[in-house]
Amino acid sequence: MKINRVGAAVLMALLFSAAGSLAVAQSSSITLLGSGASFPGPIYSKMFDVYAKETGVKVNYQSIGSSGGIKNIMDKVVDFGGTDSFIKDADMMKYSAPIVHIPTVIGAVVITYNLPGSPELKLTGELIADIYLGKVSKWNDQAIQSLNPSVKLPNLAIMPVYRSDGSGTTFNFTAYLSEVSADWKGKVGNANSVSWPVGQGAAQNAGVAGVVTRAPGSIGYVELAYANQNKLAVAMVRNSSGKWIDPSLSSISAAAAGSFPKDTRILLVNTSAPDGYPICAMTWLVVYKDQKYGNRSLDQAKALVDLLWWVSHDGQKYAPDLDYAALPPPAVKAVEDVVRSITYGGQPVRK
């Protein structure tokens, strides 16, 4: 019995190592390493899987969170980092060499709620801020009722739910609230985790959605992809042009379709685009502008640049199926310029 077990273990080990060496033999000698944001994790694994099949270049991406990705690129232990919030000017100084940002897909934070009869709700940014500040604490408050005259709102306490774990979702949600509510900006502010005046926390999108589905009267914020896949009730939000916008892939893409900065570092929340959903967020890959560092080869730099080009072009078609919005044309144009600006020892890698 014992011998059998040992034998089985040895056999397993042999099988695994054989499978491993087979995989190595199939791919080219180049493997690109990346780590960071977990929000785009699903689309990256789809894109990189397809990319490996098409080109033979293996891309290994670990969804360890934006902070981890930023730290890894700073320490130069990966080829690229992934982050849900762009590196601020002040933090750019901390890097030994210039960094460039390549946006990949766009996501949105949606407001979900649990009310008897699941009515369709319209909310403004200021109102959402007031709810999360505890200033509006009943569903039949005049502030909500006046925006939703056709809905019979119950006399029920509002229970705000937030992410207990530090997350890009919270960053973008609080960035939006800070944009639209001076009160929020002064009392709470904007970060991956903040000090919430009211409400309860739950871990990850799943935790927030779980509380909202269970507790009548609750309201929460989750990624659009998560809300779609779980068929949650989602509120329309009024954008800065005064239009009521349902979060959808097209209204998210629209949010980024306005003017686009050359360095692609743009905060999409509270967009001025007339048809854009107001709580959108881009996610980026960050790489060093000059790829000749450490003992990197020109081939490695080329493989990375080709990957970045592919992700922002051919790779985009995989986004909608996974509930991410593709980059609109002005963004793709900006990405092309950024990718062309990447050099190896001062020479452009891709012309």
């Binding site: 530090g166 709470v188 985790s193 926390g201």
Partner: protein, 291 residues
């Protein structure tokens, strides 16, 4: 291998252990330097935990940790003692005892995330009903839910310990008590339990240690709010849970440092409780090793 070398290996292992431990403390202290020096005792008594303004105080989490752990202990103690006594004194080797032992051991091996899920689906709705009846905000999650689930998680530690130490009570003592005319109940309460009380206390310490450090299940059940708990139904947070929730995506060094200091505080609490516990055990056993 000669005796000397054998002794050397043993000593080496022991020294390595102490060194590792010292290293652990040093790491925590070094990494919490940014908040350790600047905010001092204010860090412990501070009520605010704000990653935006970088104001950090640990008091709500310290209270959350202590409250959930001690309430869990209070709920769990009667049940754990009762099962321990039943299995150690009354039905030692019957079919019932064997089955019960298997299940108690299984209880100890359930991953805490499973306890958390069970708490969310079974305990939270129950607490919500109680809260609705009591007329308080029906969060469901909070101090009470966390304590209830923690109580179940720590039962195996105390009941197995009680069972095992009771098995070690010499039969001569039992027979003596019975021969003097004691009933079985009087024998258990008057002779067996006093004989093993330090052993039971050790079980309680073990259980408390588990409750203080429990992370996953509590994170899922406590409501994760930086507020000082004011009642059983309050939502709050614990030291371990804050670290687990926020560390990965902490943006600033000060925030990370503050969490390192939380870890240091948690470690300190565990030490103090363990040390005090040992002292109590020593005193109560009067120098006799209660096993």
């Amino acid at each position: 291998m000669n005796d000397k070398r054998y002794f050397g290996i043993l000593t080496g292992a022991a020294i390595l252990f102490v060194a590792l431990f010292a290293g652990l403390i040093l790491t925590l202290v070094a990494n919490s330097a940014a908040t350790l020096g600047s905010s001092g005792l204010g860090f412990i008594s501070g009520l605010e935990w704000n990653p935006v303004t970088l104001k950090f105080g640990a008091w709500p989490f310290i209270m959350g940790t202590l409250l959930t752990s001690f309430i869990a202990l209070a709920i769990s103690l009667p049940f754990s003692l009762a099962t321990g006594i039943l299995l150690g004194e009354y039905v030692r080797s019957s079919f019932v005892a064997k089955t019960a032992n298997i299940f108690i051991n299984l209880l100890a091996s359930i991953p805490s995330v499973v306890y958390g899920l069970w708490g969310l689906t079974a305990v939270v709705p129950l607490v919500q009903k109680i809260e609705t009846a009591a007329g308080v905000p029906a969060y469901g999650v909070g101090i009470l839910s966390s304590s209830l689930v923690l109580a179940i998680m720590i039962i195996p530690f105390m009941s197995s310990m009680t069972r095992e130490v009771l098995k070690n009570v010499p039969d001569s003592l039992r027979h003596g008590a019975l021969a003097l005319g004691a009933t079985r109940r009087e024998m258990v309460l008057g002779v067996s339990l006093p004989y093993v009380k330090s052993g039971i206390a050790a079980g309680v310490l073990l259980a408390l240690g588990r409750a203080l450090g429990e992370t996953m299940a509590v994170t899922m059940l406590i409501g994760n709010a930086t507020r000082l708990p004011s009642s059983l139904f309050s939502i709050g947070n614990t030291l371990a849970s804050v670290i687990a929730s926020q560390f990965n995506e902490a943006e600033s060094d000060v925030h990370r440092s503050a969490m390192m200091e939380l870890a240091l505080i948690l470690l300190l609490i565990t030490f103090v409780i363990n040390f005090a516990g040992r002292k109590i055990i020593e005193k109560s056993s009067g120098g006799r090793n209660g096993r």
